[in-house]
Each structure stands twice: as structure tokens, then as C-alpha cells.
Symmetry: C2
């Protein structure tokens, strides 16, 4: 299907995609471009790509598909570095969790003979780096494409076909709307998890030891989310500021209402909210986005 695919950034997503492309024989050649010499060495050791170099321009030379799999804040810089080396008719795509600022940062650098298909596979774990990836990461997950008005249909089709061959389902969305939906479903939950775990991290040492000891009572679930890659998440919040601050405001209002209900002893309000939230869990299980667990693990 693809002659040469270049993946820039071999973290969890980049390395998982390389594995999936290799396993499914979707490209003749896989080229790795990564700023870090250690990552390049690891990629060759693990045989995740045919070539690996820290020279990103060299990595994309002759590629018909270039995938930016770096933190969203680095996409513009990488686009600038590789722009002069992109082949005629090459397709550039990305995997970022924010779309509008990536589009704003990338498009000014791309020459007219290149197509850009902004993409976001909704998949991940709390682990980072080329060793953390696995080919099945995208199985049954959504990949949202947010094409521009002038993105040619054949480029959208090619990127769609790649993700479908890696096990994902495709959705097309407006970039601004994508950023709002992800602010609710992903960015705010991560911010909250980081915040509550940091509240615990800054407690006195004695209390912190007890929090770790008794973490299985609820706190533990937050720490898994709050173990996600710090640079990737820093960039997401800096690049989806408006939508995140807006949904955070709404969350704060709802939390303040619960706080007041506790303070004045309004059990009716608490029970009403806690009953409503159960229905959302059932809807997610019905939508096959979660599996009911007998043991709550």
C-alpha cells in the first residue's frame, strides 16, 4: 500500500504504529526520525524501523507518507525542519490530541505539493517510549480525522485506510469541535487526576505514606492516569487552553455545588447526582467502550 512511511517521534504512539504497520505489511519501508540518539538506537535494536536518524529532514526524504508523532507543541517546529525534504505528492499526517493549534502551526510550513491530514487516534496508556508501544493499541479505537477545506479526498482516504488496517474506526470532525469533545473526555480528566495526585504528593511524608498504603480505596485509579507522559500533557494543555479552561469552569461550578451540599447536609442533592452518574456508566458499557467488571479491578 505505502512505499515509504516516515514516522517522526518513536514514543508510545509512533512505535505502536510502526509495529502495526510492520505486522500488517502496510509499507515497503519504515523510516524513523527522532531527536534522541538513544531512541534511534533502541528503534534499530528492537527492529521497529528499517532506518533511524536524528536528522528529521533525511528521515522524510522519498517518503509518500509522513506521520508526526511528537508532542503537539513540537509539530510546528518539526514541520519547518522537514518541509524542504518532502516529496512531491507526499501526505503529512499527525497523531496529536489537539487539532486546531497543530493545524495552525503545521500548515504555514508545508509546500503546496504536499497534503496535510490532521488525525488523532484515541488510544494510549500511561507508559512512554519506544519499548512501551504494541501493535494492538489501536484495535477497536476511534481515530478522528479533521481535514482542511482543501485537503484532497485521496489523501483522506489513504490515511483512513492506514488506520483501519491498524484496527481503528474512522470519524471525521471539525477541528474546533474535536478539541472541545476531547477537552471533556480526555483533557479535563487528566488535569483532575494530575491535580488530585499532586495534592497527595505534597502532603506531609507520614500522611503520604498512608495514602500510598491505602490507595486501593479509590486514589489508585487516579494515579494511573496521572502517570502519563509529562511533556505530552504539558503541550496538550498549553495548546487546548480555551476549551480546557471553559470545561474546567463548568466542572468547578458542579464541584462547588457538591461541596455546598456536603456543608449544609443536603443528602437529597448528593443522592440525586450520584444516581445520575450511574446511568452514564451504563451508557458507556452499552456503547462497548467499557467492559463490566465483576471484581471492580
Amino acid at each position: 500500500m505505502i512505499n515509504k512511511v516516515s514516522i517522526i517521534g518513536f514514543g508510545l504512539i509512533g512505535s505502536s504504529l510502526a509495529r502495526a504497520i510492520k505486522n500488517n505489511q502496510l509499507a515497503q519501508t519504515i523510516a524513523c526520525g527522532d531527536d534522541s540518539p538513544e531512541v534511534c538506537k533502541k528503534v534499530l535494536d528492537l527492529k521497529l524501523a528499517d532506518t533511524a536518524t536524528t536528522d528529521l529532514a533525511a528521515a522524510v526524504t522519498g517518503a509518500d507518507l509522513v506521520i508526526l508523532a511528537v508532542p503537539v507543541g513540537a509539530c510546528g517546529k518539526v514541520a519547518k525542519q522537514i518541509a524542504g525534504s518532502l516529496s512531491d505528492g507526499a501526505i503529512v499526517t499527525d497523531v496529536g490530541s489537539v487539532k486546531q493549534t497543530v493545524i495552525n502551526a503545521v500548515t504555514p510550513h508545508l509546500p503546496p505539493h504536499v497534503s496535510f491530514v490532521p488525525a488523532h487516534p484515541i488510544a494510549g496508556t500511561e507508559h512512554s517510549g519506544p519499548e512501551a508501544g504494541f501493535a494492538e493499541l489501536f484495535n477497536g479505537r476511534w481515530c478522528i480525522l479533521t481535514p482542511l477545506a482543501h485537503t484532497p479526498p485521496h489523501a483522506i482516504e489513504k490515511v483512513s485506510a492506514l488506520w483501519q488496517a491498524c484496527g481503528a474506526q474512522i470519524d471525521i470532525m471539525d477541528p474546533k469541535h474535536h478539541d472541545l469533545v476531547l477537552a471533556i473526555t480526555s483533557h479535563l480528566p487528566h488535569l483532575i487526576a494530575y491535580s488530585i495526585v499532586d495534592t497527595a504528593a505534597t502532603l506531609e511524608e507520614d500522611t503520604k505514606a498512608e495514602v500510598i498504603k491505602y490507595s486501593a480505596s479509590g486514589f489508585r485509579d487516579f494515579t494511573r492516569i496521572a502517570a502519563s507522559d509529562p511533556v505530552m500533557w504539558r503541550d496538550i494543555f498549553l495548546n487546548n487552553k480555551e476549551a480546557v479552561l471553559s470545561i474546567l469552569q463548568r466542572f468547578t461550578e458542579d464541584l462547588t455545588a457538591l461541596q455546598k451540599a456536603i456543608r449544609i447536609g443536603d443528602g437529597g442533592h448528593l443522592q440525586e447526582v450520584f444516581t445520575r452518574t450511574r446511568a452514564i456508566r451504563r451508557a458507556i458499557i452499552d456503547a462497548k467502550q467499557a467492559t463490566p467488571t465483576a471484581k471492580g479491578q
Copy 2:
């Protein structure tokens, strides 16, 4: 070991304990007392107890151990109902997630010939009711006892031995301190999860449908916690008001600092916090309270 054990309230914890007691042959007779005729019928159908009645006073007659496994707000009322039927030398214990208010509510009703051992097994799932329980729920979990100054050592030993035989490890703690530690590790995480899921539940229908569809990106983890029993959790917040409001205040300060960092674009602060929280996850895995997952599921 025990002649007759009476369990009042056959929800997730009560029914799990009955199963563990039965499987490990820890009592001659298991009696169920539950307000709900449906639950009593289900308990007999599932053979979880030898007898089942809605008459709680009758349920405890002749018991050497009585376990209150009702929402914490109901403990005082139940203690009053059963007080006149408790045998000489009977031991009363509970399983509540808040200790000081349960002690305050229960002790005034208990006659002097009875010992009270407040207890809290730190275990649970998001499921409720007698069908949701399972005998292994307490395996490797902590059970915290918060005995009173006058609780006789033999009573503490008997309750400890029961929990150990059900697979739990015992810790002894001051009730106030227990309530503070649990406010951080359990009550606040549940409040936050309920709040964020309710923020989503009250969104416009279109957006709500998308939140459910893309929940796997982080939100899903919160919905599991927010599917926990509404009445049980209503009572926990009403009965641990002071500690919950205090730790909630601290959380709000930390969240506000993150909000400001996003607003002013302070990536350094974000990265610093997100790096610190990773260390907590590692500490929890080292303490064997969580298992590292390759796939982040």
C-alpha cells in the same frame, strides 16, 4: 470459631463477608438481617445465610458476633433496633468507611454487656447488592480497626481473627485519623469522579453522546468510580464532612494553580507537577497496591 454470626445489611460487603465466612467455615450459623424483603429472599435463594429476616432484633438474637454492614448513616438506627436483643458478651462490629460518627451514633445504644469494635475493610467494587458480592473481595486488602479506649482486647482479637481468616491484613488506628486518611484516599477521589461524570451528564444531548463514544480517552476511568452505590456514598460525605471539606479545599487550591498555569501558559509548572505525580504511581506499584499494566487497561 464463631457460634452464630449475624450480618445486618446484605449488600456488596455484607454478602461478600457471608460468602467468605461460609467458604472458610468460620461460623456454625450465619443469620441475615435486612430491611428489604427482596434482599432476604435473594439471600435465601443464593444460600448466603441460614436464616434471613427483616426483623433485625430477631436476626441478632443469640449471636456472639453482630456485623453492621449498612450505609454509615443507618448504623445508629440499627444499633437502637437491635440493642435490646443482644446477648451477654456479644461483640458488635461494623464495616463503615467513616469511623468517628459511626462510633458517636452506635455507642449510646449499646448495653454495657456488649463490646463494640469499629472496623473498616478497605475493599469494594462499583457494584451493589447481594448478587455483587464474592468471597475473595478482602484478599490482600487492609482492614482498619479503630477500637475505643474501653474495647476489651479479646473482642479486638476476635474481630481481627475473622478478617484475617477472610484474607485481610489488620491495622489499628485512631478513628479521627482514619477519617482523614480515607478522606484523601477514597472520599475525595469519589467526590471528584462523581462531579466530573455529572458535569458530562448535564451536557447537551449531542455532546453527551460524543462523550460516551470517546470515553476511552480518560473519562471512562472516572465513570467506574462514579457508578458506586449512591446511598452509601451520600452517607459517607454527610458523615465525614469536616475531613472531606478540608481536603477538598486543598485540592481546589492545587487545581486553581494548574488552571492559572494553563491560562498564563506556564509550561514549566505543568511539567513539574506532571513529573511529580508519576513518582506516586511508582511508589504505589512498589507497595504492591497496584500492578503495572502493559496495555494501560
